[in-house]
């Protein structure tokens, strides 16, 4: 690929952005006095800011690039990640789970597990989460270095170390608040950078109708599978490009994976925990859901435009690049479109949006890591009972340490791509059953610590077993499944296999937790007050204006999401 030449205006825009990033860290440094200020933003963030951060923390560049790639590969059906997955999960965490996270005064998701269950469940979760965040942050750095190298010809090492240094600077100075403020800036940058891309791309197709007409050609090239409908092809796995039927979609993606992620992943839940009070904390995911449901038009639509133009060229002649093995390079969708459509000036803006989203991806992981490390591992197992100043210092050290290990992880990813695949697989196994543990913990007071711990282990084991015994059709490497020797079931796609792995893991964890809980001794009701639904007072929010009440916000969000599902059915 030919390197893209940047004009002075593009560089100026990128430079201005970095000045702001570091400036925010410097200004916030003065308010970092206690460990809670640094690791929990002193719990004083207004809900609109926390809401946008809740949304952007997940909006790493891999997500943006991956969603566009899926948009090209599978079409509109990718919107299920938003309209079936994220939105219902965000409503659930806001309405039903936030009262326990916030009300219990837990400082992290693992700490809630400690309060509700026991130390071993917390430690298991804290350790797997700590390793996972560091590697995610490393993968983000690696992806950024690789992209900048391919697109601009910049040096890979320089990109990795420079981005690590900038993230380190602003998180070290301003802690979680700094990360959150930057995530909000990133949100606006992505909207500002991508909206004109979608506009120009659509124009190149000849408007929405031109896009639909072109996608019809894509569809006929693939046996009639539709690229523009979300639900119509879900009757059977053969009728849609993703190879998933409605049950696998609704249960695997919608229920297990999305709820597991949005409701239990500390990276996002942390953004709601920093709100100024419990009602504000409940509003955070609901506020986040409003822009979230329109993101498919910003991140999936470019992919659909790209594949449409590749099948029937528009006036500008945009084509998806082809890899040496003859398949489309779907991951190049966004960078190629930026390079193709944006003249110098706005090109700098588009690249800034991508860089911002890579760096927030790192910073989000690092701020979640330093909190879990400081409170759940260091304060609990290594050095309990120290002064708060000591933990503030530890939080800062954990930031430095976390970033250094992330850099190492980026190099591991660069040299051994398979190791990263393996790790991501293991984390998928650990995460998939977690939502069953939280569901039982929050809504069934009879569930016990032993039940939760062994349920999690069994669920993780079930995920590994399912993955080892099944494979997507045409898979070659061990990391795609079937490593236990015989393949019991073939799935039409990797996506379908993932969804079913999640369903098996969740169900196993759910059942094993119930059985072991019934066989072990229940904790007395007194100890579970504020931690379990039936033993917690319902939040009193009747005195607020209707638009400030989480219930009405949830109704609004659910209505809009339903409408989107119907319009694009």
């Amino acid at each position: 690929m030919q390197h893209l030449g940047l004009g002075p205006t593009d560089l100026l825009i990128i430079a201005v952005y970095f000045v702001f990033v570091l400036g925010i860290g410097l200004v916030l440094k003065r308010s970092m006095k206690r460990s809670e200020d640094f690791l929990l933003s002193g719990r004083r963030i207004p809900s609109w800011i926390a809401g946008l951060a809740f949304l952007s923390a997940n909006l790493g560049a891999q997500e943006v690039i991956g969603m566009a790639a899926s948009g090209a590969k599978y079409g509109m059906i990718t919107a299920h990640f938003y309209w079936t997955g994220a939105i219902p999960a965000m409503i659930f965490v806001g309405l039903f789970m936030m009262p326990f996270y916030y009300g219990s005064r837990a400082r992290s998701v693992p700490e809630y597990l400690k309060l509700r269950f026991d130390e071993k469940t917390r430690t298991f979760n804290a350790m797997s989460f700590a390793v996972m965040t560091i590697f995610s942050s490393g993968i983000s750095m690696y992806a950024m270095g690789k992209l900048m190298h391919a697109l601009l010809g910049w040096n890979f090492d320089l990109c990795v170390w420079a981005s690590a240094a900038i993230v380190l600077a602003y998180v070290f100075l301003g802690g979680l608040t700094s990360a959150i403020y930057n995530e909000v800036m990133q949100f606006f940058l992505i909207v500002m950078g991508f909206a004109p891309l979608v506009y120009v791309g659509l124009r190149d197709c000849g408007g929405w109708n031109g896009l639909v007409e072109r996608l019809g050609l894509v569809s006929s090239a693939h046996g009639g599978q539709s690229w523009v409908s979300v639900w119509r092809g879900l009757g059977s796995a053969a009728n849609n490009p993703m190879g998933v039927e409605w049950f696998g979609m609704a249960m695997g993606l919608g229920f297990v994976l999305a709820f597991g992620y949005w409701c239990t992943d500390f990276l996002v839940v942390q953004r709601a925990m920093v709100a100024e009070n419990q009602t504000a904390a409940r509003r955070v995911p609901l506020i986040a859901a409003i822009p979230k449901m329109f993101f498919p038009f910003l991140v999936i639509l470019p992919g659909m435009i790209a594949i449409a133009l590749t099948h029937k060229a528009g006036q500008s002649g945009f084509q998806l690049p082809i890899r040496p093995d003859g398949t489309y390079d779907y991951d190049a969708t966004i960078p190629m479109m930026l390079a193709h459509y944006f003249p110098t000036g706005i090109l700098g803006l588009g690249l800034t949006a991508l860089m911002a989203s890579f760096m927030s991806g790192m910073a989000g992981n690092v701020t979640a890591f330093n909190t879990v490390w400081t409170y759940d591992l260091y304060q609990t197992h290594i050095a309990p009972g120290k002064s708060d100043n000591h933990y503030l210092w530890m939080g800062r050290m954990a930031t430095v340490f976390g970033i250094l290990v992330s850099v190492a992880a980026a190099y591991v990813a660069a040299h051994f791509n398979n190791i990263m695949d393996l790790l991501q697989l293991v984390f998928a196994f650990v995460n998939a059953p977690l939502f069953a543990t939280f569901l039982l913990g929050m809504f069934w007071k009879r569930s016990t610590g032993h039940g939760a711990f062994f349920g999690l282990l069994a669920g993780t084991g079930a995920a590994a077993l399912h993955h080892g015994l099944t494979a997507p059709i045409g898979a070659v490497t061990l990391f795609k499944g079937g490593w236990l020797g015989s393949v019991v079931r073939n799935y039409p796609s990797e996506m379908a296999q993932n969804f079913w792995t999640a369903i098996w893991a969740w169900s196993t964890c759910f059942i094993v937790t119930i059985i072991i809980s019934l066989a072990t001794r229940q904790r007395p009701d007194e100890e579970l007050r504020g931690l379990v639904y039936s033993l917690t007072e319902k939040p009193q929010e009747g005195h607020l204006d209707w638009w400030k009440r989480p219930v009405w916000l949830a109704v609004l969000v659910a209505g809009c999401a339903l409408a989107l599902n119907l319009i694009f059915a």
Partner: protein
Amino acid sequence: MRFDLRLPLGLLFSIFGIILIAQGLLASPAANSKSLGLNLNLYWGLAQLVFGAVMLAFVLISKKRKRS
């Protein structure tokens, strides 16, 4: 004391807006052939300047309110 996030947001996008407008006005029309002949820099720069200005206006209004 924590600062109002709308202040840096407003400043950042106002500056971006001004840079893009300048680029859109000064560059030769041939530069716009990539974006199908649209002067994206000019129009999108204006949009950002408006967004930035609205954010800054919010900051001023809330400061005045606090004072009174």
